[in-house]
């Protein structure tokens, strides 16, 4: 499974978050997860919450000065639950 990448650098508020949500909704079962590259700091607050609402977890990595890579993957559901 490979990750899809979404580059939202340069975008104005709140499009980094909105375009991430759109991309997450389009993910198919074959896709591992979504990697979002953003330079919009407020999105570091909004994307994790929106992703969690859709059943995803996020991992934020600083990608140099004023750039972040957000790795969004499906939450692991407990076996038998």
């Amino acid at each position: 499974m490979t990750n899809k990448t979404l580059d939202v650098r340069g975008e104005i508020c709140p499009y980094p978050m909105m375009r991430t949500v759109t991309a997450l909704k389009k993910l198919s079962d074959e896709d591992g997860g979504l990697e979002v590259v953003t330079d919009h700091a407020p999105a570091l607050e909004t994307i994790p919450t929106q992703a969690a609402r859709l059943g995803y977890q996020t991992d934020i990595e600083e990608n140099g000065v004023s750039e972040w890579r957000i790795l969004i993957t499906r939450m692991q559901t407990e076996v038998g639950s």
Binding site: I12, C13, A41, P42, E45, T46, P48, R53, E62, V65
Partner: protein, 411 residues
């Protein structure tokens, strides 16, 4: 180990940034010293501007998202900060105004508080501003601090604001004649006394808080602000690094930023006038327009009104307000560089420039007729215990709701 290596690489690239930030702060101090020699008021407003820019940037304090995210996400993170700032401001303004006007039975208002004529222009101004700030992705103060962070779209929005303010100046005399001259100014202490007005204002803020918390729960899960794990034990230098990191590098909790902005607003009111700047920005546009014979001419009644009422372009260009606005921009720039958050951000989609400019024009026109933006007609008006602040807020919310529908349709 891998993470440590990656972090040290980031830290190395941050080092240059810290140097540039230090240079920027030195420049800020030099400007302060020069301004002080010129006129002590210039220096004071520069210091206030720098501090406002610092806090706005650290808190990512955005009035547009405060209203918009309620509808877009069911989040009220920023709105909680705004409400806390309003509560702090209301207590401080209330105390100051009770000194300025002890007898509220007389129809005298505190001369600098933002008790503004209330009417259709307040509602329409709020509505236009609300739609505009969502389209442009930031209100006027938000655009100013993002200009300092390197957002090119915010510069475009600011140009739009200047254009919209000029447009409102060209229609001002009509608004004045038909609505504003005869519109009432409703200062709550005149009707229910100082303590009554403050109590009602704080109670209303509390009601809004309860409603948005309920609204947030209705929308479902909301993750708390980013967790900051701390490894213990810490040495003294590690501890200091942690503290300076929390102040200068990580984003502030929004309630802290709101509270600090509320306190700063009270201090500015105590020494001069409430926080606000669209009147000043209108002076710049009218001055530029006068070079190409597009000046609106004399503006009726503006000399008698407080708040961010339109200002005719008279006298010297430099005044204390120039230092406030550029101080906000420069303060945000220096802070953003130090935090590693400065970057020239250029939108790739053409429609972003169109919506930033259009949103800016709507904000400019709206703040022109409402005599203030989310700061002057809202963040400084509700603490002035004036009804116009609440009416403007309701229509800001309505506008933000319309704007939210609009941006969902703009890919």
């Amino acid at each position: 180990m891998m993470i440590e290596l990656a972090q040290s690489a980031v830290r190395r690239s941050l080092a240059t940034n810290v140097l540039i930030a230090l240079a920027a702060w030195v420049i800020a101090v030099i400007v302060y010293a020069f301004a002080r020699n010129w006129d002590s008021e210039f220096a004071m407003f520069w210091a206030f501007g720098i501090t406002f820019g610092f806090v706005l940037q650290r808190g990512r304090f955005c009035f547009a998202s405060a209203f918009r995210d309620i509808f877009l996400l069911g989040h009220a993170r920023n709105m909680k900060g705004v409400l806390f700032g309003l509560a702090v401001g209301s207590v401080g303004f209330g105390l100051l105004m009770s000194q300025q006007v002890p007898n509220t039975a007389l129809s005298i208002y505190p001369s600098t508080a933002n008790v503004l004529p209330l009417g259709i222009h307040t509602a329409l101004g709020g509505l236009l501003f609300g739609v505009g700030m969502v389209l442009a992705g930031g209100c006027v103060s938000g655009s100013i601090y993002r200009m300092g962070e390197g957002y090119i779209a915010s510069w475009v929005a600011f140009l739009g604001v200047m254009g919209g303010l000029l447009g409102s100046a060209h229609t001002w005399n009509w608004w004045w004649r038909v609505h504003i001259a005869s519109a009432p100014r409703v200062w709550l202490p005149h009707w229910i006394g100082h303590s009554g007005a403050l109590a009602v204002t704080l109670a209303a803020l509390l009601v809004v808080y309860v409603v948005i918390v309920w609204w947030e729960h209705r929308a479902g899960l909301v993750l708390s602000e980013r967790a900051r794990p701390v490894e213990t034990p810490l040495s003294v230098s590690e501890h200091l690094r942690l503290v300076t990191g929390r102040i200068f590098v990580e984003g502030w909790p929004v309630v802290v930023a709101g509270g600090v902005l509320g306190v700063l607003n009270v201090l500015l009111f105590a020494v001069a006038e409430p926080w606000g700047f669209t009147g000043e920005v209108s002076r710049w546009s009218i001055r530029i327009a006068s070079f190409v014979d597009a000046s609106p001419g004399p503006l009726a009644g503006v000399g008698f009104l407080p708040g961010c009422v339109l200002m005719p372009a008279e006298g010297l260009f430099f005044n204390h307000m120039v230092f406030l606005v550029w101080g906000m921009l420069f303060g945000s720039f220096a802070t953003a560089v130090g935090a590693g958050e400065f970057k020239i951000r250029i939108p790739k989609r053409t429609v972003r420039y169109v919506q930033s400019l259009g949103g800016g024009i709507m904000m400019g026109y709206g703040s022109g007729i409402a005599m203030g933006c989310t700061i002057g007609a809202f963040f400084s008006a509700i603490p002035s215990l004036a009804l116009n602040g609440w009416v403007f807020a309701v229509f800001l919310g309505l506008g933000a709701w319309i704007g939210t529908h609009a941006i969902r349709r703009i890919a």
